[in-house]
């Protein structure tokens, strides 16, 4: 299996060469081009209930698509939003992703939804997280460019700008200030990280773009 990420930072996508019998798991709808003979199966990562939670609260697809090459073949997948595609090899460790950041992975990784807590539920930001773990390659995407940051101590980041982080970091979802500020400041929720580890931050925010566009939408 060979990976090629092209087009970063504006229009990143992922092309994978599959050997005989090899598969790739992708986010539903992400396939752009592939060898005609690839076989598609739909899978529920982590089982039906976990997948349903992921779908309901996180707006992610319920299923991941599994593409398998009987002989050899290729497949390209692209994220819904323009931006960068990133790769991370997991060796028994894990990585936390925010909703929408998952693009693809090698089969067998465990993809578990993690609920962001009650506060996230009321803020309208729908903070749903995914924990990817196991052994294999994980591909994730960001809206805009990506800043990789090593945290030592602490850092606060707007939830809409967080793409992924290492589980060695402790995190807490909170509002900027109290409930009033959370609801009205426009800053929404933030993730407060403490400890040591790496975090990936995206330079654009889909909700912010939608917020700007909203006054221009007519009924």
């Amino acid at each position: 299996m060979q990976f090629d990420i092209g087009g970063n930072p504006h229009y990143g996508d992922l092309t994978v060469s599959l050997g005989a019998g090899e598969s790739l798991w992708t986010e539903g709808g992400a396939m752009s081009r592939m060898s005609t003979h690839l076989e598609l199966k739909t899978r529920l990562p982590g089982g039906l209930i976990q997948s349903a939670i992921r779908k309901l609260v996180g707006g992610e697809s319920l299923f991941v698509s599994e593409y398998t090459a009987e002989s050899s073949g290729m497949i390209s997948v692209s994220p819904a939003s323009p931006g960068s595609v990133l790769q991370r090899e997991l060796k028994g460790d894990s990585l936390w992703l925010t909703a929408g950041a998952f693009l693809a992975c090698t089969p067998g990784l465990s993809l578990r939804p993690r609920f962001g807590g009650l506060r996230s539920f009321f803020s309208g930001e729908g903070v749903v997280l995914m924990e990817a773990s196991g052994e294999g390659d994980l591909f994730f995407n960001a809206f805009g460019g990506v800043i990789e940051k090593e945290i030592e101590g602490g850092l606060t980041i707007d939830t809409g700008h967080v793409v992924a982080w290492e589980p060695t970091l402790e995190y807490r979802i909170k509002g900027m200030g109290g409930l009033k500020q959370t609801l009205f400041s426009g800053e929404g929720l933030v993730l407060e990280f403490t400890g040591r580890g790496k975090v990936w931050v995206q330079t654009r925010h889909v909700s912010a773009l939608a917020g700007w566009l909203t006054p221009y939408c007519r009924g």
Binding site: Y11, G28, S35, T42, S65, A80, V206
Partner: protein, 229 residues
């Protein structure tokens, strides 16, 4: 006629240099600059293809009802700048008349007036998924301008290739294609969120775009207010 591609990557546009007597046709609304001696006319069709009905067919292809045509009115040279709606690349296809080209809805930006433009329906499967099911067919000799959301990848297809309809920009009609699902059954394709795909076979050139505007629309749309509000 000479066409210059301005910008690079995400924000490309086309600058068409017109010689006296030359005419260029574009999507209406695509012009963003023109020299003052350029005369702009609006039609529902290009060249010989038939009148009002062409305009209606084009609406179904996700294109504009009208074409704009540009020519200089003073016997001098002129220029017209054309910009696409989406962020992405613009390509010039040099057509030598040996094969026709098909453009997916929305990817047609313009063409020399020597090129005949027609609309081709692809059947009704597309209505299920809300994806475009019509192509703009360009035939003749001249230059064809296409646009994309993101990067354009040009592939010489020699055997088979499957492409999601949302990623097709344009292809030579020497390629055969069938509308299909990404795999398994229609139900599975729908469950997996995979739309309609085109299975290409034969030999010819194919342009695809790195990103699918509908997929971006799907993540942006839910964050916008209701249409009725």
């Amino acid at each position: 006629m000479e066409i210059e591609i301005l910008g690079k990557g995400a924000f490309e546009s086309a600058l068409v240099h017109l010689q006296p007597g030359e005419t260029f046709v574009s999507e209406s609304g695509a012009m963003y600059r023109a020299s003052t001696n350029v005369d702009i006319d609006v039609t529902t069709h290009s060249r010989s293809s038939g009148g009002l009905f062409s305009g209606i067919k084009r609406l179904f292809a996700g294109e504009n009802f009208f074409f704009s045509t540009y020519s200089t009115d003073d016997g001098q040279q002129g220029e017209v700048g054309l910009a696409p709606t989406h962020q992405g690349e613009v390509h010039v296809i040099e057509m030598d008349g040996s094969s026709d080209w098909l453009c997916a809805g929305g990817s047609f930006l313009g063409a020399s007036s020597s090129i005949n433009i027609d609309t081709q329906f692809q059947g009704f499967k597309g209505f299920l998924t809300g994806e475009s099911l019509s192509f703009i067919k360009a035939s003749g000799q001249g230059q064809l301008l296409v646009t994309a959301y993101g990067r354009i990848v040009s592939t010489q297809v020699d055997a088979e290739l499957t492409v999601d309809t949302g990623h097709v920009v344009a292809f030579e009609d020497t390629l055969q294609y069938t509308l299909s699902k990404a795999g398994g059954s229609w139900f599975r394709s729908w469950l997996g969120g995979e739309g309609i795909v085109l299975n290409f076979s034969g030999s010819g050139r194919l342009l695809t775009q790195s990103h699918n505007p509908s997929e971006f629309g799907k993540i942006l749309g839910p964050k916008l207010p209701d249409r009725s509000a």
